[in-house]
Amino acid sequence: MSGTPDDTKPVNFTVKAPVYLQIGDAKADTAHSGVCVVDVNLPFGKPVNIEEVTFKNYYTAYVTVRLLRRNPEQEAPAKWCTAVRDLPLMDNPHTEGGSQDYYTIHRTQMQVEPDHVVCARLILRQPSLAWLTFSLEDIQIFPHTEPDPEKEVSDWLSDLTLTDQHPDLEGLPDPQTVSSSIQQMWALTEVMQTNQTTASIGRFDVSETHSQPHLSCNECVHDGGDVITFGR
């Protein structure tokens, strides 16, 4: 698996001001067409392999992502291609659902391989008349890093399951030693029961710790602490 946004830094790029397309004469007619184009220029001379694109929505209903890719081996000119077409960000363009949510578009969700990308273009659509404006905020592009060859899927899964939090054990005996000594004593009683002698083996008291309520007992080792008394 490749690096997550926590490890990698987003690519520095410049975002041009969003251009709201208009119908008819730009000066006279101020009716919004509900389409906006945001151009993202990646650093010149350094094509990027995109891992994921994250952004915060602001009342955009659909987004289309187009990428300008330049294949370094071939001398062919750079070509535009569509990575994501009309991804819905709001369930209903007229209502609030999803209007201010955070989104991530991962490379696996894209229709083409987002490698050697020189420029990205986000086409935003908001067909509803209910909103005064719409845009995307905090657009970030994370580069794809080559996966660490030793790490496999199982390692990643085990990273996910959280490690045991060792409870605070001040003043209490180590639970491992207590449980192993209990096991030894229990095995002894099994032996005693099968042998059935009349000799006394003396008293072992492992005091129980949970008859009195504690006020801050989230992490005390109570579990399994039964009273065990041996002998006659």
Partner: protein
Amino acid sequence: MDEGIELSLTIAQIIQRLRGSHLHSQIERQAKECLHQPDVKLESLKEDVRSFLKTSGWERKLQNAVYRELHIQLPPRHPPAPPEHLKEPLVYMRKAQASWEKRVLKSLNSMSTELGVPLAHMRPAAEQKELTNKWNEMGTDEPDLSRFRPVYAPKDFLEVLIGLRNPNHDSSEDISVRSHWGLIQVPLNVRDIPHLREAYSELNLTSGQMGIDDHALIHPVVMEEDSAAAQQYSRQGCPTGLRADLWALILNATNQPQDVMHYEQLKAGVIQHNLLVDNLIYKDVKLTASNDDYYFVFEDFLYQVLLCFSRDTAVLEHFKYNSATPPKSYIQGKVGDEECAVVYPPNGVIPFHGFSMYVAPLCFLYNEPSKLYNVFREMYIRYFFRLHSISSHASGILSLCLQFERLLQTHLPQLFYHLRQIGVQPLRLAFKWMVRAFSGYLSTDQLLLLWDRILGYDSLEVVAVLAAAVFAFRAENLMEVTSLASAEAVLADLSTLKVMPLIQVFLFATAM
């Protein structure tokens, strides 16, 4: 986010929450003890222990615990999303909630200064003794509450909701298609009758409902002790005798020794300290529940539950997904220093006028105080908190109000128009019903049938549907009224209404 990643994160979150819980240690102990059994063999140890846990019912208990966690779990966070976003995604609603909270706090603080009553003080020993003796009959106490007044009433909250505006919403053009006759001006997505018919298909006119078609009984699921099955069963109503157990099962509100112990600790807290909000609770119970024909007998129970509820810091957890934020109070002179801040009241919830009505109906089901307390607390942190905070959630009071208005405008346009002509906004009549989830307005057996569906469908939408259905039922009378007072009179008494036929007819027999 990738679905596989989401699932693994969810699983990891649930494991973390359940690890170290009492259930975890109980299952471990059971697993150890089952090793004595002859049919548990060393070669197939894992499978044998697993099948033992299954047959003895422990796996089902674990399933119920996981199911309960799923109900209150937060969706997995996107890396850049701040925690406030999980409480409430819309910025302008967060701001509105914050300024509303400021107003409430100011009111509480000024009450404290005016009356000279501190927010909290320790009771003298004599008073503590007296309270311990009188714990089961606190209702006989007649303290002087005339100076206290509720911090706010539902109608104040309604004014705030009405004033909410989305700064990005274009309300300049009055396009007739979009024109909304009601008071709520926020464009939330609410479901209309066709969608509701799909979602609430179990309420169809053709399926039997408890309380109407009692001969059409289905096998009780209490024997199986499965939360999810009980929730599904509750959609068609619970039989009266089984309701208490079924609700406890759905909410996974077990009454284990540690729950009883927790309740006793809270009771000790009540005896030791006197909080200003205690007086608000007393006043509220005296004003509402004690005056109600059905609930006045439970006055003592209400004190026992609500006073303990104010001191329960376990409730603070629900603020992760509640748009509200618990108020903080600072030690004298150290305002702003987070280390000297403490949440007030300890559970972060300031009671308002009518709050005790959330507890009152439950007194019919449970007579053991700690069980009653557990069930109420779980119901509050799952559903009731949404009725008095500003949020865009589908079960939030704002969505319920909008849904009520939309249903009325779409399916009873003549009535809505007539009411507006005489200067009556329907929401002003229905709001008080919805804020209390109809508690205190319906007769108790009908109310419990309604709350069966809230639990069964895990949503408060039925409350909005019922409000619209009541208007539909009384439409003829309402068309004849000519003033606000007469409209209120028509809708004053709901105690004779039968809830389920109203909802069924409104959802499934309304002409489309």
